[in-house]
Amino acid sequence: MTSRSARASDDEGDPPTVSAIGLTKRYTRGSHPGFVGRLLGRSAPPMVTAIDDVSLSVAAGETVAISGPSGSGKTTLLHHLAGLEQPDEGTVRFQGTDLGTRSRRQRRRRRLENVGIVFQRFHLIDSLSARANVALPLVELGVPAGERKRRASAVLERVDLGDRTDHLPGELSGGEQQRVAIARALVTDPDLLVADEPTGELDTATSRRVLELLSSLAPDRAVVIASHDRETLAIADRRVRLRDGRLDAESATGTGAAPGDKVVPGDPG
């Protein structure tokens, strides 16, 4: 399955921003018995397959929504696309580069420079102001303090929080915290933005504002959103559905909606 943008990229010979090819990830359920445990006859814990042979490409300018019930592997797939985890089988390519061939440090650097991550529960640093939270990636990039402040303030303005820059996360509402998290993800102007249940903790009105913001980001980058919320899925150019760690047949065969064929909010799709 390829979107219009992805097809365009292929036609021009440019690789998609991120692509997963035959990804499989297994986790152990429970802890390993260890040397003593094995001597005492304890068996290894059972393995659970989180995602199974999943392939997905996302091109620049495309917004892809991953849906599926809880435990279907949405978050695991997002973490692999963002480079937070390494698959047991398959590969993840970022702008044509196989992340499996890169060191941990190189993957971290790529995350810092090219990937923005929005978590369901915001995961802001409670003791830092909104602006300091947004500026965190810039500190690591070595951006001078004045420039950090300017860029963080500009991004906060973009998410309508220009008057809340000095507030601590505890002084902000849930919607405002999520917008700070989005600002933090955008401050390095990443090529890929991944958002895990970005409206999962928000009320309806606040969700709409966050979704409007997310839908405005696609022209400049690839956006991948994991959600099972209809309105969130509705902003996507394309939707794929995970069930028990595998892509649905419809998703896998590429019959999902193409960019421009956005589903009207409220349509269950």
Partner: protein, 386 residues
């Protein structure tokens, strides 16, 4: 950023935890400073530097014992003449030879052995073995050619055992009669319950046969100039010079032991302080494990996270160390006040502003020793996704 975050935690989000960590270090360092101040004070005989300095000159052979109970050791000769020579020193206020003998005192039908101390009641001499020497007629009239005064100052314990009171007549060894001019409740250097008495030196010498060589067991010297100590050491070749309070202190604390005490206090304080910081900061890190995982997910390197934890640990322990140093400094003052009120007649602990710096230094050592453990915890916490 580390300092900004720490300030925000201290004032907004983690006030109690930060305060708990700082106060923990403060308490440990304060105790360290007090114990160290006491140890150094006892080892260095701090009162040498005090305003009102008293020195004891004792023969080497009896140097390690309390001079007031060392009755059978070597003695000094020509005691009165030496004392007169010493008093010509411009920085010496008074000097008196001291002789001690255990004698049998009798009053009515009571008879007790008492430590009798012979002294020249030089004006300003104050207390000897806890008894007021000023109650005796000034100087040593019998030695100066006058008749015997027959005066005796008796400790309360001695008076109680002999059932004697002021103005009573007491016989010494069944021969000499003396009059009790004062009963003093002063404490004796040899033990709180030992019966002791003060008499003029020459009169004691006459009773014990020491008048011919003018023998004395030791000298007590009063001065306000610590530099006099060097001159005193030249008076008799085989003698040792102690401070009055130093002697009292050495009854309970040997110099080497004091330094060992200080060193032990340092090691124990570093150990306990490190355990405290590792525990409190470790709990703090565990409570914030999501933050470290978030930083890793965003691409912040482990080294940067180490730097964050390291800086905050050092700053927290430094603040605790400074506060502990100040608290310890005042604690040393308090110990000295208590000691002078209950145990000694002078301060026993070293008082110096350097103790604050020492507390700060100890806290920094605590911080530096704690950091590797905290970094290991940080490394574990920063793995995986939040």
């Amino acid at each position: 950023m580390a300092l900004g975050q720490l300030a925000s935690r201290a004032m907004n989000t983690d006030r109690k935890r930060v305060l708990f960590t700082v106060l923990g270090v403060t308490a440990v360092v304060a105790l360290l400073v007090v114990v160290t101040g006491m140890g150094l004070g006892l080892a260095m005989e701090t009162t040498v530097y005090d305003e009102d300095v008293d020195y004891w000159i004792v023969p080497d052979a009896g140097g390690e014992d309390s001079p007031l109970v060392a009755t059978d050791g070597p003695a000094f000769s020509d005691a009165h003449e030496t004392a007169t020579d010493l008093e010509t020193h411009p920085d010496i206020e008074y000097a008196s030879p001291i002789a001690t003998e255990v004698l049998r005192l009798e009053h009515d039908d009571r008879s007790e052995y008492v430590l009798v101390v012979g002294v020249v009641s030089t004006p300003g001499i104050g207390e000897i073995v806890g008894l007021d020497a000023g109650a005796l007629t000034p100087n040593d009239p019998f030695h100066d050619g006058d008749t015997r005064t027959g005066e005796l100052v008796l400790s309360e314990t001695g008076a109680s055992l002999l059932e004697a009171d002021e103005d009573d007549t007491i016989e010494i060894d069944g021969e000499e009669s003396v009059s009790v001019v004062a009963v003093d409740d002063g404490r004796s250097a040899g033990g709180a319950n030992m019966p002791v008495a003060l008499v003029h030196l020459s009169e004691l010498q006459a009773m014990t046969g020491g008048e011919e060589a003018d023998l004395a067991d030791q000298f007590v010297v009063g001065t306000t100039d610590p530099a006099v100590k060097d001159d005193l050491e030249d008076v008799y070749p085989q003698s040792t010079v102690y401070t009055r309070e130093g002697l009292l202190a050495t009854e309970t604390m040997d110099g080497d032991l004091s330094l060992a005490l200080s060193l032990t206090a340092f090691v124990v304080a570093i150990s306990i302080g490190t355990l405290f910081v590792v525990t409190t900061m470790g709990l703090e890190l565990l409570a914030n494990r999501r933050e470290f995982a978030t930083l890793s997910a965003l691409g912040v390197s482990t080294v940067s996270q180490f730097r964050l934890v390291g800086i905050q640990t050092v700053v927290l322990t430094a603040v605790g160390g400074f506060l502990g140093g100040v608290a310890g400094y005042f604690g040393v003052h308090l110990v000295n006040e208590l000691a002078m009120a209950v145990v000694t007649s002078g301060p026993i602990a070293l008082v110096s502003p350097l103790l604050i710096g020492y507390g700060l230094l100890a806290a920094l050592v605590i911080g530096l020793v704690s950091i590797p453990i905290l970094l290991a915890i940080t490394r574990r916490l920063s793995r995986g996704a939040p």
